[in-house]
């Protein structure tokens, strides 16, 4: 085993100048800007759902989309703040109120639309399109978050990964509800939220390992 004074010597020998991180809120802003850019690009390449103007006049749709967007923004800010060693882990609770509202709107949507669910109302082709959209937004956003938060690998990988996945999932869900031209049937809502839960679970299960690939050494 190397002795501690020797270790200090070798660390000092490797002490190249480093670039200080910007404030976490500014970095979260950078990531959200990237997310906005991604959604804008998708809006150009895909078509925004044709009934968007009509849907934006329905309060439950507006509340739902605002809640998922707020969850994404707040979860991103929470991840960037909590990834700094001396900041409190309580910051991770920041998106919880917005998440609660989002889950409530989904629950409400399920309740009032339950009767309207008909078998075969969701064609198979649309599910594939839905999935493609999900991957197109989710993967670049996850990678960007992973690289921006790589220092968290040595500090609180699991918590930060869960919070980061929630940010990605909520932003992706917002994108889905802008682009997906379907009635907000219970199936769509469950699909929408199910993928969000899946992303968060994957983040919790593999976040530590993914961080260890990109962690600074």
């Amino acid at each position: 085993m190397i002795t501690t004074p020797d270790l200090i010597e070798s660390l000092v020998a490797n002490a190249a100048p480093v670039r200080r991180l910007r404030p976490p809120v500014a970095r979260a802003g950078g990531w959200l800007l990237f997310a906005a850019l991604m959604i804008a690009l998708l809006a150009v390449s895909h078509q925004v759902r044709p009934d968007l103007a009509l849907r934006l006049r329905q309060p439950e749709f507006v509340i739902g989309i605002a809640a998922s967007l707020a969850t994404g923004v707040l979860a991103a800010i929470a991840s960037f703040i909590a990834s700094i060693p001396d900041r409190s882990r309580s910051w991770l609770l920041l998106p919880v109120p917005a998440l609660f509202v989002w889950v409530s709107t989904i629950g409400y949507g399920c309740l009032i639309n339950w009767v309207s669910v008909q078998p075969g109302s969701l064609p198979l082709g649309d599910e594939a399109g839905c999935f493609a959209l999900l991957v197109l937004t989710g993967v670049p956003l996850s990678l960007a978050m992973l690289i921006m938060l790589r220092h968290a690998a040595l500090l609180a990988p699991t918590q930060v990964a869960i919070s980061g996945s929630l940010a990605v999932a909520a932003v992706t869900a917002t994108a889905l509800s802008i682009f997906h031209n379907h009635e907000s049937s219970a199936i769509i809502l469950i699909w929408n939220f199910g993928t969000a839960v899946l992303l968060v679970v994957l983040g919790g299960a593999f976040g530590r390992r993914m961080f260890s690939w990109v962690s600074p050494h």
């Binding site: 501690t4 660390l11 100048p17 991180l21 060693p85 001396d86 040595l154």
Partner: protein, 212 residues
């Protein structure tokens, strides 16, 4: 890129050197020093970095000692904390106090080490002295105990006169006179019996040695 171009914040000056000695030894003064050293180290000042790491090592050791008793474990945690400080030194913001930043890292490494220890304890067994064995047969106490049993068995199989003589003279360490009084045999007869007993024991044990 020159080292100064990495500093985003306002230029920092080392004010603590001008401060009186007593002030520097207080925890607040010490932490201010560390904060300034780290800010300089982020810009590539190796001397400040060395002083910082040497200064914080005893502090890290005291944090590790809250979780571990073994000095090897404590030193492991200290070294891992130093490595982490090195790897994430860009996350330190000189506008904030240095202490909580360092303590958070040290606690993180201590908890990791505790978890690792918990995992390995479930699978591994510490080697105790009684598990040890040596190449030389004399060193293994368990072997000696079984040798003693073999000898007792061999004594048991001797003819009665020889067996009593060996027991009294060799195992109970009586004198010839005492043994003669107790057994009613003459001293000369005892001597002969002992001599014969030793001879046949040598033969019996020698045979067993060859067999094993």
């Amino acid at each position: 890129m020159s080292p100064t171009s990495h500093n985003r914040g306002p230029d920092l000056t080392l004010v603590a050197e001008a401060a009186p000695r007593s002030d520097r030894e207080s925890p607040a003064g010490r932490e201010l020093d560390w904060s300034i050293y780290m800010a300089r180290a982020q810009g590539g000042d190796r001397e400040a970095y060395r002083r910082l790491l040497e200064d914080v090592t005893p502090y890290l050791r005291s944090i590790a000692a809250r979780h571990f008793r073994n000095s090897c474990d404590i030193e492991d945690v200290v070294q891992e904390a130093l490595l982490t400080v090195h790897a994430v030194r860009h996350t330190y913001d000189p506008a904030r106090p240095f202490g909580p930043w360092l303590v958070a890292i040290a606690n993180r490494r201590a908890v990791d080490a505790l978890r690792r220890q918990g995992r390995s304890r479930g699978r591994e067994l510490t080697l105790e002295t009684e598990h040890e064995t040596f190449a030389g047969p004399q060193a293994n106490l368990a072997e000696a105990a079984s040798d003693g049993r073999v000898l007792r068995d061999a004594v048991e199989q001797l003819p009665p006169g020889q067996r009593d003589a060996i027991r009294m003279l060799k195992l109970q360490e009586m004198s010839l006179k005492e043994a003669a009084e107790m057994s009613g045999m003459t001293v000369a007869a005892l001597k002969v019996a002992t001599h014969r007993a030793l001879k046949s024991l040598r033969k019996v044990l020698g045979r067993q040695d060859r067999r094993t």
